[in-house]
Symmetry: C2
Subunit: 102 residues, 2 copies
């Protein structure tokens, strides 16, 4: 069995976007920034939730934390194992929000 | 009345992504590249179609034109006038695909 050690000081701030409304994730991101002195938080989503990730990034940046920049956006593809066998592809997005020092 | 002159040599290659399946847009993009010697084509989408835009970019890049790079992704917000009065915000995405010379 492989044992993995986790370095807590390298904690990456990732918020996974699912099927809840954007405002739930806005709250999670604000908490993530304020609880950790983090300079950036990355939103990750796939499939239909990609739109919610974009909505979330836009809402937080325009309404709640105006000192945030979108520092990187990447898209990709993940292969999903299906229960009935075989695989299917699903698109992914990662949006990195970075706090700009005032 | 304002008269606008359109410079045809500066034609920008934009493919608007809507509610059709990704493969329709894949075909439009391939046509856009081959018909114009263009070096890049930009996909534009808003709202629920954002996911389709990401799917389209991934499918064309992985299956059809492997010499394409995603050179820029930007997200934004547009204000939509509603028929019943008032406005609502909708998220937008622009994905620029650029042909890498072999």
């Amino acid at each position: 069995m492989l044992k993995r050690s986790v370095d807590l000081s390298e904690k990456s701030n990732v918020v996974y976007i699912g099927r809840k409304p954007p405002m739930s994730y806005v709250m999670a991101i604000i908490t993530s920034f304020s609880g950790s002195n983090a300079k950036d938080v990355t939103l990750k989503a796939r499939g239909r939730s990609i739109t919610t990730a974009v909505d979330t990034a836009e809402i937080i940046r325009r309404r709640f934390m105006k000192d945030l920049d979108i520092s990187a956006i990447t898209i990709g593809t993940e292969e999903i194992q299906q229960e009935e066998g075989g695989t299917r592809n699903v698109s992914t997005i990662e949006i990195m929000l970075t706090r700009v020092s005032p």
